[in-house]
Symmetry: C2
Subunit: 350 residues, 2 copies
């Protein structure tokens, strides 16, 4: 019964339910949001590795756009290894770890709390070391994730960051309502998306390298899709902002180097569309995803998703075609996303 | 006389002189450092694209380790496109642009200054739009850079960030002395390094993808080397921290997917050495560079550089083998790093 990728694919389909489970803890998020607002943070410091770090990229926008706070993916090495003497007393720390066992994330939180930060753990395991050392714990409620390649954990990290940032801005209920509607939209779209990725995966069976581009709120999505393609399909897939692409990497493109674009209907769309035009001029194949996929001219493949109820929630929908594509391409290549080579579910490496 | 890559290679060799030119403006850096200290910044916001953004990654460590300030590579899209209402009045902005003409960097600085940030332009052109809109301008003094692929501009951005952060910490003279010694060490090592990269470039002529790994102060170096390989050699080279590598991308490695490692003798070295062991176990070829290259076991190639007078200055030496390797590999592949396809010296794309 161990069909390769069966678990990964099943967990991708469980995502609408995972979002709804998270919303069962709305009161905890509202309380944590009030605690953050009381801290009046000069900085929200987001820490995590792998998919959790991709979610942190999204958090920069959630906190920047909702309460209007400066958030950053903080350097763990600066504090934990180099022992830099940073000011933490006006900081909120949001630590992201599915397992709650990532060693240097735990070390970082211990240090930040000692130095006066309000520390919040976002984890799937409220009994973990991370939860024990943080002042507040917000359970991810994604349910047990058995595939090594993460999916529903990532989606719930996005949902949790949006909900926490919304609560900090006094808009928690509005975000919760938006997330509930997003779960419904995702549920309706899932079967169509799962069918649509098939022909692209067939065409991409021999692709060795790709770029995944997004900007603004979709940069974290680009990072997560690139990571899925790398770890489950062994494609060298690099995430880039649409602007990064034009500052060098566009020179490397050719017809065997396709580009996955994530187009959402917000203020960064013109930059994305402009970058896609340069990709096309370089002769590279374009996959256009996102709810504004139709705006990307000359795409060989389009994977539109429904428009999110709030622009900030777009990534919860736009990441899903990437997950499904990775699952399908891995299958086409005879790889097992549930157990990629050399990876384990909990990475204890520093 | 237009030998491909002649200008890029010449400019790499001009770097020791470029550092010395920068130091001619020490007084400006000391004054700017005092102005930063008076601002008592809650955040130092670094902005730039391409190589300038790689330098910004270094700036996070320079400001974190010298004055002990939180520095971040700020999101340009958050302010410029989305119009987020962030608090800038306790910020220092350091804007990096060789030409001083990058449109959204200029827009960002205008907005940040209006909102009360102390804005500093680091540019090769003190007559540029960026210099005109920033409160202070620190000339990079790299001399005219004619190759589209940047080299001396990047090195002087690192030097300038170290000097400014040192000045902010009341250690400007000490950093200036360290930079002067670094210029001398680089000058002595240059010919040996230029010779050493030749055989590696020959061996890598058919490589299509690489990872470049470094952590902490060397992550910016990894980003810059990866960018050089991408834009001048059309290799899909992705920069990763040693920890990122183990959270997914290690699964994609094989014998045709080499990894360039940057090993410097600081607190992050054990993590780098551990990651390199996993790379070797995956059967991938390792290039070990940096002054602690000998610590990386099982490297097929080593490119050691002299140890820097201060650990924070290591990247000014460790980036150079990567630059020279890119120049040599581009030549082996018949490409022209002075004028890579589809790139221009000044990128006006948003």
């Amino acid at each position: 019964m161990n069909t390769p990728g069966r678990i990964f694919l099943a967990e991708i389909h469980e995502q609408p339910g995972a979002i709804r489970s998270l919303l069962g803890n709305l009161d905890s998020f509202l309380a944590a949001g009030r605690a953050c607002a009381e801290q009046a943070p000069a900085a929200v410091r987001l820490v995590g590795h792998g998919s959790s770090d991709a979610a942190a990229s999204y958090g920069v926008y959630a906190f920047g756009l909702l309460p209007g706070w400066t958030a950053l993916r903080d350097s763990i090495s600066l504090s934990v290894y180099y022992g830099a003497e940073l000011e933490f007393s006006r900081s909120v720390v949001v630590a992201l770890s599915q397992s709650g066992r990532t060693p240097d994330v735990v070390s970082y939180v211990e240090r930040a709390r000692d130095r006066g930060a309000l520390t919040i753990a976002l984890t799937n395991d409220p009994g973990s070391a991370l939860a024990a050392c943080a002042e507040l714990t917000l359970p991810l409620e994604a349910g047990e994730e058995r595939s090594v390649a993460a999916s529903k954990t990532f989606l719930n990290q996005l949902a949790a960051l949006a909900l926490l940032a919304g609560a900090a801005a006094g808009r928690g209920e509005e975000l919760a309502e938006g997330l509930l509607r997003t779960a419904g939209l995702l549920e309706e779209a899932m079967a169509g998306l799962a069918a649509a990725v098939g022909p692209i995966a067939t065409a991409f069976a021999y692709v060795g390298r790709m770029y995944v581009i997004g900007r603004g709120v979709e940069f974290g999505t680009a990072r997560e899709i690139a990571l899925k393609l790398t770890e489950t399909c062994r494609v060298a897939a690099e995430p880039l902002t649409s602007t990064d692409l034009q500052h060098g990497p566009v020179a490397a493109l050719d017809s065997m180097f396709p580009v996955w674009t994530i187009a959402s209907p917000d203020e960064t769309l013109p930059a994305l569309v402009e970058a896609a035009a340069r990709v096309r001029a370089a002769g590279a194949t374009i996959v256009a995803s996102g709810s504004a996929a139709a705006e990307v001219e000359g795409a060989a493949w389009t994977l539109p998703v429904p428009e999110a109820p709030l622009p900030l929630l777009s990534p919860l929908l736009s990441v899903v075609p990437g997950q499904l594509f990775a699952a399908t391409l891995a299958e086409a290549k005879g790889l097992d996303p549930d157990r990629p080579e050399r990876l384990t579910k909990v990475t204890l490496a520093r």
